[in-house]
């Protein structure tokens, strides 16, 4: 899987220049997180991956093919997009119908759909909710219903727009599981998130945007080792990373265990 973004610019009809020349390439299936303050252009950027938006100038290439070559509906087979607000996406009267809708549209055989359904419902924690109306779901369940309905289409890339927003601990854990599952199955996952703890735990690569440009792009340890630069985009590394940086460690820790390990190692060295 290869997504190449070449000097991408996007100006909305209102005259708002949301992207001012963004270039980077995603190769392989290592999960990528896109971070940055509100209005920095994250949503605008990822909406180019399946041609919901077309570049004002520049280009986005999916495995070498310019996105403008075909319609969003055609791209939906390969590039799945989970909207930030599930209410924009869900409109049928049961979870089961939501799950079946996308794959039916892109011509997946009925037998395959039925085979995928229980597994994905289970992953999304909706195994016993398949025949519930989507109105009767909690906010978290709705979000997972939207995620599941896109996973059902089995695209090669899945984009999550702020899936952690309004999510509890249980929801975040489930999301990590889904991201792991996708990577294992050879699917690329690109996620917008404001939850840096979640980002540190799940995404080896982080791209930070600031006012329509790439601020930093790289390995999450390297990105979170630069809190001063990140501040420009109102992003701060997870608290535990800040603690470890503050203590003078070179690489930021991403969990308490890690920090403890590094401290122990340091003590052993000193002793």
């Amino acid at each position: 899987m290869r997504i190449e973004i070449r000097d991408l610019r996007h100006t909305y009809p209102t005259g708002e220049e949301a992207l001012k020349g963004v270039s980077f390439t995603i190769e392989g299936v290592t999960p990528v997180a896109v971070v940055g303050q509100n209005g920095s252009g994250k949503t605008t950027l990822v909406k180019h991956f399946n041609r919901i938006l077309s570049p004002t100038s520049g280009a986005v290439l999916i495995d070498g093919v310019e996105t403008t070559k075909q319609s969003t509906a055609k791209w939906s087979k390969r590039v799945g997009y989970v909207f930030q607000n599930p209410d924009d996406q869900l409109f049928l009267n049961s979870v089961r119908k939501e799950f079946e809708f996308g794959p039916e549209r892109v011509g997946v055989p009925a037998a395959d759909i039925q085979k995928r359904l229980p597994e994905i419902a289970e992953l999304c924690g909706l195994g016993d909710k398949l025949d519930s109306h989507t109105f009767d779901l909690t906010a978290t369940q709705k979000k997972f219903c939207a995620i599941g309905s896109v996973m059902m289409m089995d695209p090669d890339v899945i984009i999550f727009d702020e899936p952690t927003c309004g999510q509890d601990v249980e929801g975040s854990r489930r999301l990590s599981e889904i991201i792991g599952h996708l990577e294992k199955r050879g699917k690329l996952c690109v996620t917008i998130s404001h939850d840096m703890k979640f980002v540190a735990a799940n995404f080896p690569r982080v791209v930070a945007l600031c006012h329509g440009r790439v601020l930093i792009d790289g390995d999450s340890r390297e990105v979170f080792a630069k809190p001063e630069l990140l501040k420009k985009s109102f992003v701060s590394p997870p608290p535990i990373s800040r603690v470890s940086l503050g203590m003078g460690f070179e690489k930021p820790a991403f969990s308490v265990d890690e920090l403890v390990e590094t401290m122990k190692a340091r003590r052993r060295k000193m002793a």
């Binding site: 509906a73 409109f91 549209r105 289409m153």
Partner: protein, 275 residues
């Protein structure tokens, strides 16, 4: 333009902020304009008046720096409606006596054609006027004007909210359509694929509008619109200039003349003035 201003115009109404004499005009004059011109034209028995008023509205649109958009709006509306009415009324109106053209399967009648043009003219005056009013008036000003005229604040808020409904539904449809295409629904292409794509989104659009209405009701309560015996003041203050007072009088006079003439015309046979 300030950031806040931008958000306002992007999100909440059909208002287009342009500095023009029409924009600065007291909203009450515009409301009088829409009503007096519209009702006057509807009452007036000859069709030329409506088209004269439409021509006048074009001048207003030009003064408001909206000539392009206004023309588009009028054409997008007038052409299909005129064709439809011409076919229905022109070919099949029971009033048809004078035959203009004979197509074999049906005859085009003068009376139906005149009726069709009269109806289109009146609709254009109403809708054109309403379009100009909403695009040139900041909604807050409109509501303040109505409240100054004695409308209570609840009703004012509802007027404001309903003015926002159309752009809001348009935005909603755009968002839902985006979400649908991302799930494999083709919205580009022939009429029939587009229509098929449109069907599934009617449900959620209506639903979310209903939710909106409910939220609006709750907003009224939480913002103290239910408070009694206190006359709320408004942030936007409005005064009528002498010119605007005169304009109001002219508009009312126009309405009265039209209605009187219509009554006179209808009573012609009774008054014994030959046909």
């Amino acid at each position: 333009m300030s950031k806040q201003n931008k958000i306002k115009t992007k999100k909440t109404s059909s208002y287009i902020p342009l500095d023009s004499p029409i924009d600065r005009m007291h909203p009450m004059v515009k409301i009088y304009g829409v009503l007096c011109l519209g009702i006057g034209c509807a009452a007036f028995p000859f069709l030329w008046l409506s088209y004269a008023v439409v021509a006048f509205l074009f001048c207003v649109a030009w003064r408001a720096k909206l000539l392009g958009r206004f023309s588009k709006f009028i054409i997008a509306f007038a052409v299909p409606i005129t064709c439809m009415l011409l076919i229905i009324q022109g070919l099949y109106s029971p009033k048809n006596v004078t035959v203009l053209a004979d197509f074999g399967f049906a005859r085009l009648g003068l009376e139906g054609v005149v009726y069709a043009f009269k109806t289109v003219g009146t609709l254009l005056v109403f809708l054109g006027g309403f379009y100009l009013m909403t695009t040139t008036t900041y909604p807050g000003k409109l509501v303040t004007a109505m409240q100054d005229a004695g409308l209570n604040s609840k009703a004012g808020y509802l007027v404001l909210a309903s003015l926002n409904v159309v752009p809001q539904i348009q935005r909603r449809i755009a968002v839902i359509q985006e979400a649908q295409t991302a799930r494999g629904v083709e919205v580009e292409g022939t009429m029939s694929t587009r229509f098929k794509a449109f069907l599934p989104i009617i449900g959620p659009t209506v639903m979310s509008s209903l939710v909106d209405v409910q939220e609006r009701g709750m907003t009224l309560e939480t913002r103290g619109f239910g408070v009694k015996d206190v006359r709320p003041t408004s942030f936007v203050a409005l005064y009528l200039t002498p010119g605007e007072k005169a304009a109001k009088k002219v508009l009312v006079a126009f309405l009265i003349v039209c209605v009187l003439f219509a009554v006179f015309w209808a009573l012609r046979p009774v008054l014994g003035l030959g046909v």
